[in-house]
């Protein structure tokens, strides 16, 4: 496929796809590093909204004290909740580069970015290890 062909297909796709376009077929632009980061952000928002409810219903399900009928009802209720409300679906990516692996959890940064900032003395209490 030629360059022009690729461009036209992308533009058509963008125009048709509702998620990528705002009103009147305009492209949505955000300041996130990439679209995977954007999706992760959406998942986090749903977790914030439904996460607690999901956890409570799951606690009702995962026990052998309460009657089985109640647990079955709870199963159905959990299935009705959006899939992205599950905390386990959230990927702790790097906040700057959106790297999925090698993320230092406390700073939410990938190891490469973390190292860069630490070398330039931008991280409080972080020093090169010598012993």
């Amino acid at each position: 496929m030629t360059m022009f062909g690729i461009v036209t297909t992308i533009s058509q796709f963008v125009v048709k796809c509702p998620k990528l376009t705002g009103s009147q077929g305009q492209q949505i632009r955000n300041k996130y590093a990439d679209w995977r980061m954007m999706k992760d952000v959406k998942r986090r928002k749903t977790v914030k909204e439904f996460g607690a409810e999901r956890m409570r219903i799951n606690s009702l399900r995962k026990n052998d004290i309460l009657p089985q009928e109640l647990r079955e009802v709870a199963d159905q209720e959990v299935a009705a909740l959006p899939r992205d409300s599950n905390y386990i679906r959230v990927r702790h990516r790097c906040a700057i580069t959106s790297r999925p692996r090698g993320v230092v959890f406390k700073w939410r940064l990938s190891r490469i970015v973390w190292r860069h900032l630490a070398d330039y003395n931008k991280l409080a209490g972080v020093q090169r290890a010598i012993w």
Binding site: L60, N63, I65, L66, Q68, E69, L70, V73
Partner: protein
């Protein structure tokens, strides 16, 4: 050059080639030996005859220059093939005459009396100068005027205040405008007629003090009401005041003189941990909450939860878990408990059917060993 060629043709037609007209020197001279019966008589008569011939030829040349050249106007030959500009003069003349006649007719009728006589007189007067011009064009040459005659008639122009001094410079103009003076009249400035005319011809610049808000507005733009209403009250300069306050603060405060002072500043700003380090630094609200509120949560179950049964068992486990959680606030723990309370209220029917909750009507008939795992 055409005239020269013409001359050569004439000479060639009349006589066999005798003399050549040398282009560079511009003189007639005889190079080739030519047999002339008149020249054979004597050598002495050769020179005067040559001179006569030369004079004749010069005269011919002058005549040819004076005459109009009719080569181009001939229908046959090279002239016909040459490009000619379109002839427009005649048409113009005709147009003028028509308009003139119409105008004269109208004028004559307006005046009254002898219409035809007035017409003829007017036309004569109008066309007389043009006719005179036509006569002039037909003349052969204008009379040759010598330089001496021209200069003898001229006068020397002595002007003291010339060009750039009499004109008003930019600085002088600005001074004049600011002081509110007005430009003096031509007489006062002693301008000649020529200078006055020149001034009038020049594009005039509006000089006097301009009042921008003097005239009436055109009404093209819409004036926002906020601007229109408040005219006397000056606008609030919030940024300016803020910056002024900042400047005062900076003037009073001094930068840290050493690292200790800098670190003190950071600690006060909250960039540095307070030493000795307290893990709960900055937690103001949480410090007010006593630990018992976090740990002892069973008393929240008392109003609604049954004292025995699976529900109680479950809720006690929930409370144990929450009491061990130091990361969430008491409010959040209470939210959890209340949610379960609401949920069990909704599912009361199922619980009663299964026997988890002892129903009010069936209180006496409860079977203790009927609880399903």
């Amino acid at each position: 050059m055409l005239s020269v060629r013409f001359l050569l043709r004439i000479t060639s037609l009349q006589q066999p080639p005798l003399c050549q007209f040398h282009k560079l020197t511009g003189t007639l001279f005889c190079n080739s030996k030519h047999e002339d019966p008149s020249s054979k008589d004597s050598e002495g008569t050769l020179k005067p005859k040559k001179n006569e011939e030369a004079v004749k030829k010069l005269n011919l040349l002058l005549e040819s220059m004076a005459k109009e050249e009719h080569i181009a106007s001939s229908s046959s030959g090279i002239g016909a093939q040459l490009a000619r500009p379109p002839v427009k003069l005649k048409k113009k003349q005709v147009n003028i005459e028509k308009s003139l006649t119409e105008a004269t007719k109208e004028v004559a009728e307006a005046l009254g009396g002898d219409v035809k006589q007035t017409e003829s007189e007017l036309l004569n007067k109008l066309l007389a100068p043009s006719q005179a011009l036509k006569e002039n064009d037909t003349e052969a040459q204008k009379p040759f005027v010598s330089l001496r005659d021209l200069i003898s008639g001229m006068k020397i122009d002595r002007n003291k205040g010339t060009g750039y001094l009499s004109e008003e410079g930019r600085a002088q103009r600005v001074h004049r405008i600011l002081e509110g003076r007005k430009i003096a009249t031509a007489k006062e400035r002693e301008l000649s007629i020529r200078e006055v005319v020149r001034e009038q011809q020049r594009t005039k610049i509006y000089d006097d003090k301009i009042d921008i808000f003097g005239g009436e507005p055109l009404g093209i733009f819409k004036v926002p009401e906020s601007q229109a209403d408040t005219s006397d009250v000056p606008p609030e300069l919030t940024t300016w005041h803020r910056l002024e306050a900042r400047e005062l603060r900076l003037a009073v405060t001094h930068p840290p003189s050493n690292i200790f002072e800098e670190m003190i500043q950071w600690t006060e700003q909250g960039k540095l941990w307070h030493f000795p380090v307290n893990n709960e630094q900055g937690q103001v609200e949480e410090s007010k909450v006593y630990f018992t509120e976090h740990v002892f949560l069973e008393h929240h179950l008392e109003p609604w939860c049954p004292k025995k049964g699976p529900v109680r068992h479950f809720m006690e486990l929930v409370c144990v878990g929450l009491s061990k959680n130091p990361y969430i606030t008491v409010q959040m723990k209470l939210e959890h408990i209340n949610w379960f309370h609401n949920y069990f209220e909704e599912k009361k029917q199922i619980l009663q059917d299964t026997g988890a909750i002892p129903a009010l009507s069936d209180k006496k008939e409860t079977i203790p060993g009927d609880i399903t795992p």
